[in-house]
C-alpha cells in the first residue's frame, strides 16, 4: 500500500462513473453465512436437551388447536381492517403505489435466479401499505367499538 494506491483510491471515489460502497458486499454475505451457521449450532445445542423441545412444541400445538376450533365456530367474523385496506388498495388513491408494487413483484418473480442483483419489493410494499392504512384508518375507527 504505497502512496500511489491512496491517490488512485481518491480518484476512484471522486470520479462520476464509479459507485461508492459503504461496505464490501461480498464480505457481508460471508458474515451472514457465519451467523446462520452460529444459530444452527445453537439450535443443535438446544435439541440435545429434551425439556426445551417439549416446551416449545406445546404452545404451538395449543395454538393450532385453538385456531381450528375458532374457524369451525365463528367463520362469519371478518376483520374490518383487512376489508377496508383491500378496498383502499384497489381505490384510485393508491393506484400509483399498487401499480409500482405489482410491477416490482412481476420483475422480481420473473428475474430471480440468474441475475446477480437481488432486488426486493419491501419499499414498494411499504408505500402501498402506508397508503392503504392511511386511507382505511378513519373508516376503521368508525366501525370498531
Amino acid at each position: 500500500m504505497g502512496i500511489w494506491d491512496a491517490i488512485t483510491d481518491l480518484i476512484e471515489a471522486a470520479t462520476p462513473w464509479t459507485t461508492a460502497e459503504a461496505e464490501a458486499p461480498a464480505a457481508q454475505e460471508e458474515q451472514k453465512e457465519e451467523q446462520e451457521a452460529a444459530t444452527e449450532t445453537k439450535d443443535e445445542a438446544k435439541d440435545e436437551q429434551p425439556e426445551s423441545e417439549s416446551a416449545e412444541e406445546q404452545p404451538a400445538e395449543e395454538e393450532a388447536a385453538e385456531e381450528e376450533e375458532d374457524e369451525e365456530d365463528e367463520e362469519e367474523i371478518v376483520d374490518p381492517k383487512e376489508k377496508f385496506e383491500e378496498e383502499c388498495k384497489e381505490s384510485k388513491q393508491c393506484a400509483p403505489a399498487k401499480h409500482h408494487f405489482d410491477e416490482c413483484v412481476d420483475r422480481v418473480t420473473n428475474a430471480s435466479g440468474d441475475s446477480e442483483v437481488k432486488e426486493d419489493c419491501v419499499e414498494e410494499f411499504f408505500h402501498l401499505a402506508h397508503c392503504a392504512s392511511q386511507c382505511a384508518a378513519p373508516k376503521l375507527w368508525s366501525v370498531l367499538k
Binding site: 471522486a14 462520476p16 446462520e36 444459530t39 445453537k42 426445551s52 416446551a55 416449545e56 404452545p59 385453538e66 385456531e67 375458532d70 365456530d73 365463528e74 367474523i77 371478518v78 376483520d79 374490518p80 381492517k81 383487512e82 408494487f101 416490482c104 413483484v105 422480481v108 418473480t109 430471480s112 437481488k118 432486488e119 426486493d120 419489493c121 419491501v122 419499499e123 414498494e124 410494499f125 411499504f126 401499505a129 402506508h130 392504512s133 392511511q134 384508518a137 378513519p138 376503521l140 375507527w141 370498531l144 367499538k145
Partner: protein, 322 residues
Amino acid sequence: MLARSCLRSTRAFAGARNGAINFSKRAASSSSGSAAEQSPLGLNIAAVASTAVAAGSIAWYYHLYGPTAHAMTPAEEGLHPTKYPWVHQEWFKTFDHQALRRGFQVYREVCASCHSLSRVPYRSLVGTIMTVDEAKALAEENEYDTEPNEQGEIEKRPGKLSDYLPAPYKNDEAARFANNGALPPDLSLIVKARHGGCDYIFSLLTGYPDEPPAGAQVGAGLNFNPYFPGTGIAMARVLYDGLVEYEDETPASTSQMAKDVVEFLNWAAEPEMDDRKRMGMKVLVVTSVLFALSVWVKRYKWSWLKTRKLVYDPPQASNTRH
C-alpha cells in the same frame, strides 16, 4: 448588452437635453461591437470552454454532494405507523373502561403466555377494570411467597390485592430459552417505550401480511412485519379473528382485539391519565380565574395613578417687564 441597455435608458433622459452627448455614447457602443468582431473564433472558444468548465464543475459538485446519504434503508427503519384517531388521546376524553376490560381479557388470554406486566398490581385493577371481588378472586388464582415462618421456611399463599400480576417466566434467561432466543418485553410501559406509542403497537399487531413481499429476506425463526424496524420480528402473528370471546359480545375481530389491548396497555403505562386530565382542567380553570382576578386587582390598585391627569398650567404671558 447590459451596458447598451443602460445607455439606452440614460439616453431617454439625456436625449431631450443634449444631442451631443447622445451622439458620442452611440459611437462608443458601436465601437465595442466592432472589437468583438475582430477575433470571433478566439472569443467563441473561450466562451464554450468557460461554459463547459462551469457546467462540469456544477455537475461534479452534485455528483459528490448532491444525493442524500441515508444511514438506514427503509426496511431497516421500519414502516412508520399510521395515525389512528384514538378517542382516549383527545383532551376532554377518558379511557373507555369497557374497552379496558376487554383489553385486559385479551392480555390475559393471549399476551400473558409470553409477556409479563410486572408493574401492575391487582389493586390498580379495582375500580378501573374490575370490581373488588373480581380482582380478589383473580388474585387468589395465583400463589405467592410468604414471609419466612418460624423455621425460616418460605411457604406459598394465595395472592392478595397488593400483589403484582405474575410473570410467565422466572427470569429473562428462561424467557429467552423458551422463545428461541428472543426476549418478550415487559408490557407495563411498552406504549411509552416505543416510538409511535399506541399507533405503533396497533399497527404491529394487525400488520402481519399474509406473505412477505417478493424478494424480502426473512431470517430463520423470524416473521415479516413491516412496522418492526428491520422487518424481521420473532413474535409470530397471535391475534386472529374470533380468538377471544368477549363477555359483552363485541365481535372479536383482529383489529377490535388489537384496539382493546392497546388501549389497555396505554392504561397500564399511564394509569393516572384520567386523573391527570381532570387535574389539568382544574388547574386551567382555577389559574385563569386567579389570573383574571389579579389583573382586576392590579388595575384597581393602580387606578388612582393611571387616571390622574398632569396639567401644565403655564403662567400667563404678560408684556409687562419687572
